[in-house]
């Protein structure tokens, strides 16, 4: 295992073992990648980039999904 990464995830501080890709992060959080969208440092990632995008120290991530609304 590598060192601990400190990131902001959905507005909250998180520490996790890294380095890791966005796909690995979603797996660790038990989130189905087909049901969410991810913004990485203010850039929305296409799903095909989840595998190739590395989460680094200080990164800001937003993971969103659809909920009920009008």
């Amino acid at each position: 295992m590598g060192r601990k990464l400190r990131i902001r995830l959905n507005g909250d501080a998180h520490e996790l073992a890294g380095p890791l890709t966005v796909t690995e992060l979603l797996v660790r959080l038990e989130i189905d990648p087909r049901r969410v969208a991810v913004e990485h440092n203010l850039v929305v990632l296409k799903r095909e980039f989840f595998d190739r995008t590395t989460v680094r120290e200080g990164d800001e991530l937003e993971i969103v999904n659809f909920v009920g609304g009008g």
């Binding site: 507005g11 989130i31 969208a37 929305v44 969103v64 659809f66 909920v67 009920g68 609304g69 009008g70």
Partner: protein, 257 residues
Amino acid sequence: MDLFTIADKTFSSRLIVGTGKYSSPAVMVQAHEASGAEMITVAVRRVNISDRTKESLLDYIDASKYVLLPNTAGCYTADEAVRTARLGREAGLSNWVKLEVIGDERTLFPDNEQLLEATRVLVREGFVVLPYTTDDPVVCRKLEDAGAAAIMPLGAPIGSGLGIQNVNNLRIIREFARVPLIVDAGVGTSSDASLAMELGADAVLMNTAIAGAQDPIGMAEAMKLAVRAGRLAYLSGRIPRKLYANASSPVEGLVGR
């Protein structure tokens, strides 16, 4: 068939419904069914990281049956709305967005300046933008000029159930609008939906009027019929209003005269 087209999609239903505020997913699914709607709105929110037990809304929505329309509800600036729209596009793999930029917490009235700015940005990025706006003909024209795929003036504040408050503004907007006119928000009951359609709206969008009814499934069917009735009345041409009576039965041949 009386079809209705926005951008590249054609619909036979002129009722668009939401997914918020239902007492249970099962009731929502049945209400959607009863409404006959083909397009449904959804909101984009952060995934709850600490509690992953909650089911996803998409578990209950048959994406082959409905066009999903992500909204930017709750956004107060053009930047937030654009960010949310981009996330919604990736989550739903569709470039359609119901664009909301709110300007006031109590009324949830749109901030039309920010709305116009967000519309311009998203149109440039290839979105099909359906902006929720006030029933202001000047703003509606500006949104149309900015490339909106439809204009969606409110009938009354979101969730208020007050019904169509400014019939005359909607009539004026109807006169010039070249893109579909969708009355979004304010409907309380079926007659409000009929009225919107009688004024010439191409469609009506609602959430609370159905989800908040005592029987959402019954109300969904009422709305389906009301939208259809209002549309037929609009196409059929109502009679002019007259101050005095005009007898329906012959005035000749009366007994005893």
